[in-house]
Symmetry: C2
Subunit: 541 residues, 2 copies
């Protein structure tokens, strides 16, 4: 405790203590990077001066509609202009930003509206039908709808609600922002995917988001004026906080409505996209792109991938195309990535297999985190031996305030003084963590734990397999057995027997799937496989 | 104020709130960059694992000597290993680091020991005589001395005090660090140069230093594993906080005892130095280096310069040699640089003169600052017209807690809710600030303000002039008139009359110096010209 003998007059004051908030970045950028391109989406192209003015107009317009500091403003929008502007425009009037997954069903949307208490819902025309169904299903007061039309993409305004451009038109570009008085104030409300039970509302503080934006450039080796493509939906951890970070760097955000190899390649070649994040499925899109969709470019594109370890074949393929992939790891509760597979140049000369094996590890704490490690059930650090399993736990400033209106879940998540990820991992001797499985995805067969990820890795090595997922299938004798779901590559064939005999070479017998089913895998909008749906199928398979 | 309708259970806890401190960087680096080179000085070369262990041993050894959290530990050491290790080793036991300028006289050192109350003084053998004289002059309890020998530089231990390597030898490499419970705790105590009256003790908080280390990499375009040469003395704003920043980036600190062109070129060529900071005089050393001291290198070396705007000739010369210079600005009270001359690529194609003119501006707020601007005497923003003058004021998290045991000076420095720099500047239409003069260096002649910097710029353009300084000379008729002191380039000559007629072409008549004296200029250890000494000479000139 470094308090000096005499600390008189050494208190915090407005000169030396300013609450940390990502809002400060865009206020600075509006002056420092005034004429630099801030946002691009289709024919929409704004400088930081214009971006700041439009965000101010949005904030001012929300205020005129009665939005007060602390109120919730929801959005159901793809990564297009309005969604990007809402990142700053909603908190600029002191409101809490509640980005909602556009793939959700009406029932879940209704639950989130009721639980979060949104006063306003900014909704893309495409998703209005689902939202209208949700409004009809709500128990409480429904939010007022602002419609976002996207005529370039063929979505014309219905005329039933105020349209975004009209809504902000008369806003005040010089509106005086409501900056936080306390960096612990709430910035965003993000609902978890809720695969078990109702989704939980994760509350972000300004301090955590600010520190995410300060730590990420170090890990992502970013210098000034990057060009970032918003592929990760802004409704996932606010797009890993990247739109909040861009003004710090004088960077450009390239929006996109639908993700395809063509859209990505065009962004790189035409806009100079230098950075993007995406699930491994996005990497596969690039590797497997049609020749006609590919574009040539000179620079290396830096990619953060998360959600699942990238497959060695994907890494090998995408590296040759000019992309450098770094795996990161985190959860909605940690603002997105807080763990990185930090590369060591000593590994540059390793064989490709060895390099891919390292790149498949989740890694170590990013700079803004205090501690991320793996502990056993008593909370004791596991041996870093590359085989002992435990739970990933974390402590640091980029951890949520807690779950909205759910103190008991918050208390459980923070028990023992750190955040419990519910992810099972091993730790290598250099401290790098490697996920074995989600707690709930572990298959327990005859008392043995089977990592679904390990079985998936063995199946993915088969030359005909494009994607696979392994879940537990109830079994009278063993309790559970592994059941595999496989997507084949175009023009390839295989069979249950062939896959099973193929993996016998690399897996212990009890880990070998007892059933292999060939079908399209259900995925979230970011390509995360929805295992809960597969478990239902596996039950009767 | 973004507090939600129901904030129950959303409080800070150990999982989601960790006090910000630069100490966290080296704790992470010890694991993440374990085998990477952390510190180099002569034949001393440590990895992060070793650096962390040595720092822990220092902290542990200080504790054994009775140092308690909040106690002050002083250092009088050049930028060699012990000084670098003290950056972390002193705060690692909760103590407050008081780096003292090694050029100070015994009387001032005695004052600082008494005022700061140092319990321990870590002193380089070279500076022991001055320190011993200071100890004899003190009013209070003198600090215990730990001697730092530097045998490579020819300074053998006197044997009168414990020597550093012996002192830390039995320290505990696994010592458990005293991390701050509150990020507002005191980290360092840095005395101002005190050109008028006694020096003031500037107190730094952990939060401010942490945020300096997070914002600086953005401005300095740093990616992982930079190699930084510690040229700015660590007793100036803790070397602009760069030793605290290096572990965040997995960077290497190259220490140096005495600064010369040869030392700098060797560091670049042999160690791959990629970044350093220094006053313009350091840039001149490089530009004017003997051919035999120069080394060739492939990369661009990024240089932060501060203390005075770099001269156009210096910028033109050093640019061709492979250095990119960015001017930064700040004060002891702001942890060093908080303003940067951020370059805009739109200026790349400007003529060299126009580029040099922009590079001579101090610039705009760095990312970790909230506001830096120029106000008039009533505290009102001045017009950004490139001519109106006012005082630079600042607000942000990289501003000191205040002056130690001097609440009235603190209150005055923070009056109006921001920190007063006492630097006079104009502001350009794009917001960039340009210093006209220190408040106390302004010359008031016949009621007109004369910027000493403007007159110096006019004289510096003379081809025979190496360096100059202009101060006020009392004058019966005009109150004050400008008096110039000039250092000529080797093998060049000039005269008072020639200089005066030369500047008449570019300066208004009342700004033309009335006297020109040729002599070596008195400088501080970092090359800052000591104008107060020149004023004494000017009086009778």
């Amino acid at each position: 405790m470094g308090w000096m003998a005499d600390e008189s007059g050494l208190n915090k004051c407005t000169a030396n203590y300013v609450p940390l908030t990502p809002l400060s970045h865009i206020q600075r950028a509006a002056s420092v990077f005034a004429e630099h391109t801030a946002v691009v989406y289709g024919s929409h192209r704004t400088t930081y001066r214009e971006y700041h003015a439009r965000v101010s107009k949005l904030a001012s317009s929300l205020t005129k509609l009665g939005v007060m500091p602390g109120d919730v403003v929801a959005t159901l929008i793809p990564n297009i202009t309005a969604q990007i502007e809402a990142s700053f425009g909603v908190p600029a009037c002191g409101a809490v930003l509640n980005t909602i997954n556009t793939r959700l069903d009406a029932d879940t949307i209704a639950y989130i509206f009721d639980h979060g208490g949104a006063k306003i819902a900014m909704v893309d025309t495409q998703f209005l039908p689902e939202v209208e169904a949700a409004l009809n299903r709500m128990d409480g007061t429904p939010p007022r709808v602002i419609e976002i039309a996207d005529t370039e993409a063929g979505f014309k305004a219905t005329g039933k609600y105020p349209e975004y451009e009209d809504f902000i038109k008369n806003g005040d570009p010089n509106y005086s922002w409501v900056m936080p008085d306390d960096e612990w104030e709430s910035l965003a409300l993000n609902y978890t995917s809720g695969t078990t039970g109702r989704p939980k509302g994760v509350v972000y503080h300004h301090r955590g988001a600010y520190l995410m934006t300060m730590g990420t450039p170090i890990s992502w080796r970013m210098t000034l004026n990057p060009v970032f493509m918003a592929i990760v939906p802004l409704f996932h951890c606010n797009g890993w906080n990247h739109t909040w970070m861009m003004p710090l760097l004088g960077g450009t955000v390239v929006g996109c409505r639908d993700i395809s190899a063509k859209v990505i390649y065009d962004g790189i070649a035409d806009e100079g996209v230098s950075h993007f994040g995406g699930a491994p499925i996005v990497l596969n899109l690039i590797v497997n792109a049609d020749e006609s969709d590919r574009r040539s470019f000179e620079h290396t594109v830096e990619v953060f991938t998360a959600g699942a370890p990238p497959a060695p074949a994907t890494l090998a393929g995408i590296g040759k195309l000019g992309f450098n992939v770094t795996q990161v790891y985190g959860l909605t509760e940690t603002y997105g990535h807080v763990v990185e597979c930090l590369w060591n140049s000593a590994w540059d000369d390793f064989e490709e297999d060895a390099r891919s094996a390292i790149k498949a590890r989740q890694g170590i704490a990013m700079p803004m985190m205090d501690m991320t490690t793996v502990v056993d059930q008593r909370g004791v650090q596991i041996p870093m031996d590359g085989s002992t399993q435990g739970e990933i736990v974390m402590r640091g400033n980029s951890v949520m305030k807690g779950y909205y209106k759910n103190p008991s879940a918050t208390e459980k998540a923070f028990s023992g003084g750190y955040f419990h990820s519910e992810d099972i991992a091993i730790q290598h001797p250099n401290g790098m963590m490697q996920i074995a499985d989600r707690m709930k995805d572990i298959i327990i067969s005859g008392g043995e734990n089977i990592s679904s990820i390990e079985v998936e890795g063995a199946i993915m090595a088969h030359p005909a397999v494009s994607l696979c997922a392994v879940v537990a299938k109830p079994d009278d004798k063993w309790g559970e057995v592994p059941c595999a779901f496989v997507e084949l590559l175009p023009d390839h064939t295989s069979s249950e027997g062939e896959i099973i005999s193929f993996v016998r070479g690399s897996l212990a017998s009890f880990k070998t799937p007892k059933r292999v089913l060939f079908q399209d895998l259900p995925k979230t909008s970011t390509g995360k496989i929805q295992k809960f749906e597969l478990r239902v199928i596996a039950k009767d398979a």
